[in-house]
């Protein structure tokens, strides 16, 4: 309940915030939004499915370069490149993840770190003669929405945070579905998940590819905002920050937003303390991991509104809907009550 109130308040704040910010702080907010998007997409992979993936910047890079290349070489409009950027990143994720997705946590972590490095080095070496080497690509056009040119910080602010809003809704829907439950089961115990009928490798792969698709689309927004991209923007540190945002968040989407603010916004606010700020920051992280190892805000329980109706029906029909075998311990009757119920419902079935 408090969470709902807080979410609504936060939503309202985000809507009006740029009215009180200068261009600099609006830009900071745009960066927070971009990291929030990347973290929300990684949250599906790491938070929901428990796949230790520390190479998310690689997919972000693939998306950004796809947009940059299509726009500068062939003058594609930015928004048109967005689905392509997502699809390219997703395809890349599919190819690299397929052989490694079954690896156990720590091994997978190492391999995904390798992926970022491979991508960065490939970009540095001007792969296919398209990526511009260490200089990167510049002169990326501004996006257009019909006749409206998105140029100013505040325009990007609403573009990025609008996308955050859409992502929140879609990923929340995913979490509250068989898909989200399957990912949570896999995270808890993949052998049990497979044993009760969940195609573990398919769902892991799907989570990975979906997360990569999103990161690719965020790459488009980033390229459009910056107009210049270079390999160094997609290094290992970026991956680590996104990873840390998700771990700190605890796995809920609200947690991810707060955590993205803490990681990207707070260091800016503390800028006047210059070097000491990273010290404070590191210390805060350590204390956090000691006192709240589960993260800031773990997801609450999913709600199933139909359950109450079903329970009501069970009670009114006089059936025994209690305690299972635990209820039996105190029962005096010779034949267990629950077993009778079981036999009866059994016969009722077609």
């Amino acid at each position: 309940m408090t969470r709902t109130v807080f979410s609504v308040a936060l939503g309202a704040l985000i809507c009006v915030l740029p009215l009180f910010c200068n261009a600099y702080w609006t830009d900071v907010c745009v960066m927070i939004g971009l990291y929030a998007l990347l973290s929300l997409s990684l949250n599906v992979i790491l938070g929901q499915a428990g796949i230790f993936h520390m190479g998310h910047a690689a997919f972000f890079a693939v998306g950004a370069y796809t947009t940059a290349i299509c726009n500068t070489l062939w003058q594609w409009p930015i928004f048109l490149t967005m689905p392509l950027a997502g699809a390219t990143a997703a395809l890349f994720a599919l190819v690299v993840a397929r052989p490694i997705i079954h690896l156990r946590g720590d091994y997978l972590l190492i391999v995904t770190i390798g992926i970022v490095e491979i991508v960065r080095i490939a970009l540095l070496n001007d792969v296919f003669g398209l990526t511009g080497g260490s200089n990167g690509i510049f002169g990326i056009a501004r996006p257009r929405f019909f006749d409206f040119r998105i140029v100013k910080s505040i325009h990007f602010y609403y573009l990025v945070w609008g996308m955050v809003g859409i992502s929140l809704v879609l990923f929340y829907g995913l979490w509250r579905s068989r898909f989200g439950r399957a990912l949570n089961c896999i995270k808890a115990d993949d052998v049990a998940a497979e044993g009760c009928g969940i195609n573990v490798s398919r769902y892991k792969l799907a989570a990975f590819v979906l997360g990569a698709f999103w990161a690719g689309m965020v790459g488009t927004l980033y390229a459009a905002k910056m107009t210049t991209i270079a390999p160094e923007s997609f290094n290992f540190m970026e991956s680590v920050i996104i990873f840390a945002v998700v771990i700190l968040s605890g796995g809920s989407q609200l947690g991810v937003l707060i955590s993205a603010f803490l990681f990207i916004g707070l260091p800016e606010l503390l800028r006047e303390f210059s070097d000491a700020r990273m010290l404070v920051f590191g210390l805060a992280m350590m204390l956090m991991m000691i006192w709240r190892p589960q993260g800031l805000l773990p997801p609450g329980p999913r709600r199933y509104p139909v359950v109450d109706r079903i329970l009501g029906k069970l009670h009114s029909s006089g059936q025994n809907a209690s305690g299972g075998l635990a209820g039996l311990a105190g029962a005096e009757v010779e034949t267990p009550v629950n077993a009778q119920t079981a036999a009866r419902t059994g016969e009722d079935r077609p």
Binding site: C196, P301, V306, I310, G323, A329, T335, P336, T341, A342
Partner: protein
């Protein structure tokens, strides 16, 4: 034709032959018990059937089609659901979601419908929840659907595993020591539940140490020792079989 037929199944771990040329059948509609001393290879047989292990040799036919080497989720889709000897619930997830995990393979909503909560997806979801609540009521746990599965008593956790398996609409239910850790009263309730499961038309294959339970409900017993079949048939005949008595010599006579 038998619902399940193993022929000449052999499973080797390194140098250890865990199952040796094992053949037996399970007829549709029956309750069959797989018994034998500890380490005889019973759980390994189950793991070969459910796809957790692939046997080195031999054939496993379910309703006429080979299931040898299929991945576990495929075996569940085909209609064989199981419980684990060492309980494997999703302990932090609510009871209801554990059962919903078993229902997963009978649901169809794809990635996009899940993200968008389309009307068809909502309908499917509601039907699945209703069905899972029925299964919980069947084992007597409906009222505890919101609790974390890990907080249930041992006996109730075993029942929850049964409910989770039943939610997958199995034709064959495989139970690995379902009465393990239950007291007499709980075991008596379990017997009724297993009978009710058969009354629903589900065939049951179970491993059990509690001989009284096995004698009470099984129409057929398969006895393993050191991975080899030593007896097979009706409980009364098997019980009188000298080889079986030999295998169990030193074991608790009371249990017989």
């Amino acid at each position: 034709m038998s619902l399940l037929a193993l022929s000449d199944v052999t499973k080797v771990f390194g140098g250890l032959i865990a199952i040796n040329d094992l053949s037996f059948t399970v007829e549709a509609g029956s309750i069959v018990g797989l018994i034998g001393p500890n380490g005889a290879g019973k759980t390994t047989v189950f793991n070969c059937i459910t796809g957790n292990y692939t046997p080195e040799r031999g054939q496993i036919l379910f309703d006429g089609t080979s299931i040898r080497g299929l991945r576990p989720h495929r075996v569940v889709e085909l209609g064989i659901a199981r419980t684990f000897q060492s309980i494997r619930l999703f302990g932090k997830l609510p009871v209801l979601e554990n059962v919903l995990a078993g229902r997963h393979c009978r649901m169809r909503a794809g990635l996009l419908s899940c993200m968008l909560h389309t009307p068809a997806m909502r309908r499917e979801e509601e039907a699945a929840v209703a069905r899972c609540m029925e299964e919980l009521d069947f084992v007597g746990l409906a009222d505890r659907c919101h609790e974390a599965a890990g907080g249930l008593s041992y006996g109730n956790q075993r029942l929850l595993e049964v409910a989770r398996a039943l939610a997958a609409d199995p034709r064959l239910l495989i139970l690995d020591e379902p009465a393990g850790g239950m007291n007499d009263q709980e075991t008596a309730a379990l017997v009724e539940i297993i009978r009710a499961i058969r009354a629903r038309g589900v065939t049951v294959l179970l491993i059990e140490h509690d001989m009284r339970l096995v004698m009470q409900i099984c129409e057929k017993l398969v006895v393993l020792e050191h991975g080899t079949l030593i007896a097979e048939g009706e409980p009364e005949t098997v019980r009188a079989n000298p080889a079986v008595i030999e295998a169990y010599l030193g074991a608790d006579d009371e249990k017989w």
